[in-house]
Assembly symmetry: C2
Homo-oligomer: 678 residues x 2
């Protein structure tokens, strides 16, 4: 009998827990999560209080946290004076004045139905715990609440960064700030600020005012703005690592200081001719860089300093007899040796300024000291090679957001896979983490958020969460939740598309346009670049459908899942069938509604073909569905015709891809019995 009572009690507890415990929409997934029973209601009496170590950034973070929670829930908090706080926050000690790589970021968060305790070794860890609490709060049948839970969490990698290129298109500080808020929400801790490149030099130098003055279109960050921005990032637990790309990708330097280049100039930001690179053979170059780096080293307090070093094509070096003479005179074999010489000189300057050098793959050279950090755009192999030689590394291969990959593809890129998996423990510890990269050839301040978010959150999880957190379905479910959260943070990754569709449509209703936008994606990788069209005009408007469309179509993914589910049921699952039919009908009928609008707008005329394709393939899909559910076999001739149609529709149109063509193709193939589905 006692056993029975116990059994019933356990059963009841389990039921209660299962009933009251909503799915946790945490991203990145914490290292350890234990569900409790019940939930903590979030009401007007909510308050948070710090009872351990204080510092300015924690106090500011608690104020932001409270404001954010109030905004998300719409509840204006009015805690009763003297009442115990709902959430107590205890950090054992403060954080470093300049955030350090490897600082303790761990925290524990215990939520019960009567209150919550956040504890951390440092105030930096407490910042992360506050973000987790925000993600826990959801609307329930009885009001807003955080489920009872016990979380122990710390990052897997100490360097979880994002690169933002502000050279190709200038991104104003306020847009960068809201992206810092997004990074903080997903516990990323490094913004790699790509401040100079061929197309623009974006940081003010007081010693060399012509760098930004002539090397930009007038849009750059003043030193005051930079200091304010660094403080803003620090408040959010984010380091700012500046990059000044040298000796290549440096045309913008030469408008004001052509003597730094290996050619004769004059140079324009628009370019043309050979890619100009710095002249590493002149002592004046190093005198310049010594002064410049000295100035920047003071402006940017972080211990790391990125010197770029990528894609030095060396044509200007080849074409300059003096440089070639220098190479031979110093017993160098080739341009790579010259770049290594340049990097060694740079490294000495950086060391004098107490900075650790970071650079891209290409800087790896046996002549360089082991203190440097190599950022790999080439892959885990390259990273492993560096680690074997004793160099620290960061992975960016696979994390290029501008390539328009789906979140799942980024998510599957594991820093410790491939050659890296075979490293010793000591070598593995040299792999510090990774960075997503937002190169800015095709973004503006208007649409950059949607190029970064929500996909960046999947990369943030890869770098924070345990290696075995890999379930793609769970990732997408949580990504949807975090995407909604991020709009409360102030990001415009969803709202910007709406505005851009309205711009294209004028005063017309955009319902049918949204239907089309929901099923297309931009072309992938570097396929938007078309060499035959000449160099990119970085001042052209980015106002086409490809600029407004999300990099990843949720609708197409859901539709694909439905088609899978139907196939797996042997085409018997009625619920899937009804939904598939409803989508296909909507799409089949959409072009008739949309076409008049497309004709009326110069920005939409190019989308007429893809709109027609959507209707055509959907009609084929509906026919296929009829064959399938009636268990008939579609005629071979019909199938051949439809597959040709679909094949054509899968091709690029207006630089867009029609993402529902592939699952419809699957239906058509199955309806003719030509593929095995079950």
């Amino acid at each position: 009998m006692r056993h029975l009572i116990l059994f019933v009690a356990v059963l009841l507890a389990a039921l209660t827990s299962a009933q009251s415990q909503p799915q946790l929409n945490l991203m990145p997934m914490p290292a350890s999560v234990q569900a409790g029973a019940g939930q903590l209601p979030i009401t007007q009496s909510f308050s948070a209080s710090v009872n351990g170590a204080h510092d300015a950034s924690l106090d500011a973070a608690v104020r932001r946290f409270t404001a954010q929670l109030s905004r998300q829930t719409g509840i204006p908090f009015r805690p009763k004076p003297g009442a115990p706080p709902t959430l107590t926050i205890h950090a054992d000690r403060g954080r470093e004045a300049v955030q350090k790589l490897g600082e303790d970021e761990s925290y524990q968060l215990v939520v019960s139905d009567s209150g919550a305790q956040l504890t951390a070794a440092t105030t930096l860890g407490a910042l992360h715990g506050l973000q987790t609490f925000l993600q826990l709060v959801t609307i329930t049948p009885t009001g807003f609440a955080a489920p009872a839970v016990s979380i122990k969490d710390q990052p897997r990698f100490p360097w979880r960064g994002m690169l933002i290129d502000v050279s190709r298109h200038f991104i104003p500080i306020d847009v960068l700030k809201r992206n810092l808020d997004g990074m903080a929400a997903v516990k990323m801790n490094v913004l790699h600020w790509h401040l100079s490149d061929d197309q623009g030099f974006r940081a003010e130098s007081k010693k060399f005012p012509k760098l930004a003055g002539m090397g930009s279109d007038g849009q750059f960050y003043t030193q005051d703005e930079i200091r304010d921005f660094i403080a803003y990032a620090h408040d959010r637990g984010i380091r700012i690592v500046p990059e000044f790309d040298m000796p290549g990708h440096s045309r913008s330097w030469f408008l004001g200081y052509p003597e730094l280049s290996s050619g004769s100039g004059p140079y324009t930001l628009e370019g043309g001719g050979m890619d100009p690179i710095m002249d590493p053979t002149r002592e004046e170059t190093y005198k310049f860089l010594e002064k410049f780096i000295g100035e920047m080293a003071k402006l940017f307090p972080d211990a790391y300093f990125h010197i770029g070093g990528d894609e030095v094509d060396g044509k200007q070096w080849d074409a300059n007899p003096k440089i070639q003479a220098f190479i031979h005179a110093h017993g160098m074999k080739n341009n790579q040796d010259l770049q290594a010489y340049f990097n060694q000189r740079l490294q000495k300057i950086l060391a004098k300024n107490h900075k650790t050098m970071v650079g891209w793959d290409e800087i790896l050279h046996p002549d360089l000291e082991k203190t440097i950090v190599v950022q790999s755009w080439r892959g885990q192999e390259s990273l492993a090679t560096a680690a074997q030689k004793g160099y620290s590394g960061l992975l960016s291969f696979g994390y290029y957001l501008d390539l328009m990959w789906p979140a799942a593809r980024h998510y599957s890129v594991e820093p410790m896979s491939g050659a890296a998996a075979a490293l010793t423990a000591e070598q593995k510890s040299l792999i510090l983490g990774g960075e997503s990269c937002q190169w800015a050839e095709w973004v503006t301040p208007e649409n950059i958020d949607s190029h970064i978010w929500p996909r960046n959150a999947a990369i943030a999880e890869r770098l924070w969460s345990p290696q075995d957190v890999t379930d793609v379905g769970s990732m997408y479910r949580r990504l949807n939740a975090i995407s909604l959260d991020l709009e409360w943070v102030g990001l415009a990754h969803r709202s910007a598309r709406e505005r851009m569709l309205h711009r294209m449509a004028g005063t017309a209703d955009i319902t049918a346009l949204r239907v089309l936008a929901d099923v297309v994606e931009p072309v992938k990788d570097y396929n938007r670049w078309r060499d035959e069209q000449g160099p990119i005009d970085f001042h052209a408007p980015l106002t086409r459908m490809i600029d407004a469309a999300y990099p990843e179509s949720d609708t197409a993914r859901h539709f694909g899942d439905l088609v899978q589910a139907l196939a797996q049921s042997g085409y018997k699952d009625q619920a899937s069938e009804v939904q598939i039919r409803s989508w296909l009908t909507l799409w089949r009928d959409n072009d008739t509604k949309l076409n008049p609008l497309l004709q009326q707008s110069s920005l939409l005329q190019e989308d007429m073909t893809i709109s027609q394709n959507l209707s055509a393939v959907s009609a084929a899909g509906l026919q296929a569905l009829d064959y399938l559910v009636k268990a008939q076999t579609a005629p071979e001739g019909w199938k051949t015709q439809q597959l040709a149609l679909i094949e054509q529709a899968k091709g690029r149109s207006a630089d867009l891809l029609l993402m529902v063509a592939a699952p419809i193709q699957q239906l058509v193939e199955a309806s003719a019995g030509s593929t095995t589905q079950n």
Copy 2:
């Protein structure tokens, strides 16, 4: 033959004009618009240049205009150096340093296919012309363009205002600023800032710091913020008229200064007991007000100063023997006489500070000088009475945005109608214009934009455009366009609803929720106030569907129009029928999709009934439609049953009204042949 050629030429010109001339989405409609032939392309080479009188506000306005045009079109402008400007702006003279009532606001705008000229007597008029230009630009099949047009424009009334109450709910400066941008877009020129009321005193007084310090929840505007805000408004051609409501609506004053009141206190912002009012019998009251008004008169440079004066219930006066003794001792008949005495004293103080007194209807009293301005919440009758007595007036009756009326109802309120129509020309000139009013019992910074916009634009047109501009269909078409424009200005009247629906829905898809939200409206007039629930808690969350829903349902209006069109066709118009059927089917099926979500959210559970009602009445509508198109007569019993259902669905539910119930009722009635439709 010459005649024939001429005829053909005219015909061709007319055709060209008709083809290339899109409908002009101007609001307010200018005094005179003449369409030309062709259009002015807006390309990257666009530039605007001032060649007449300059002043800081015009230069700033041109910069804002250019940025706004760039944002709307997505085109980063890169005019060729030395090329002639696309738009030249010429003002004969600058504007007043402090904007004056009746300053010349006229402008002319001529757009041809090769350029545009804006001319104005003053730089103030030029500001309005820039707004008109922005409204002219639309997307066309060949790119963005402004149609060729010749516009001569000036306002009908010199005072075109909006009142915003910031006492009941504090509205931060940045939210007010974006509303100033919206006002400038529709050529409104007065913000009436209702800075104090029972529930909060929102302006810093350095002489009496306890006014805002104790008379608010800590949320108020500092004097620096106020000065900055006034400059911001001036830059946009908007005067700021402050209101400090006296002697009633003044509880917030008494928390810090109870001696000003006619009762004994102590007072709290939450209230309770009698409505406290100032004591006009003590000389100390006037000493206080002299110092206070002296300070505020310097802070607010406008020539007008609003002293409120409304709704003095006088109970505290009745209850105070000293005050009653004062009334008798001074030969006054009643409390009204005492208020007039108070107002006379106030007026003297204001006159000393070179301010003209403005107050609500109740201040009208034969003892007051003719210089004052009476703002009428009572109606045109009251306004006419004042004008006959020689008082200037402003109409606010009919323009209360918080009453949730449709735009058309506000639009039909004509200041010169009724008794005002019979006034002499001289008396008519005393009617200065009007003001829309946004009282803030039920708004937060989050949803205030959607309570004001786009409906406020219809009021702006009533006050700016010629009296004969009254076509409601045209108004709604243009209102839709201006509503989209206003989101580019930075207002959140559309985007806020989306966010609020997401808050209510958690991570669930909101498609079905949007379907419901699109067909409901908040209850009208003062029907949200429910005395039986006690006083309003001004700190409660405003996060229900009634808070998110637009005040006016465009969907319901369009649906009503479709039902009218079908009726007028004798139920034969297939196009209308198809659309009606499509809407009704969507709505009938919506509750099944939506109900699980409604159950899961504490904020949505109250909407289960109205969601069921929508489905039920739509099912009835579909049946009625079948009877009608088949020219059958519905059985009487069925009709009775359905009408009862609809009647019940028309009632208030969760403080919402189901706006499609009435047109569906019309279908049901017609299907039974009980009403004549044709």
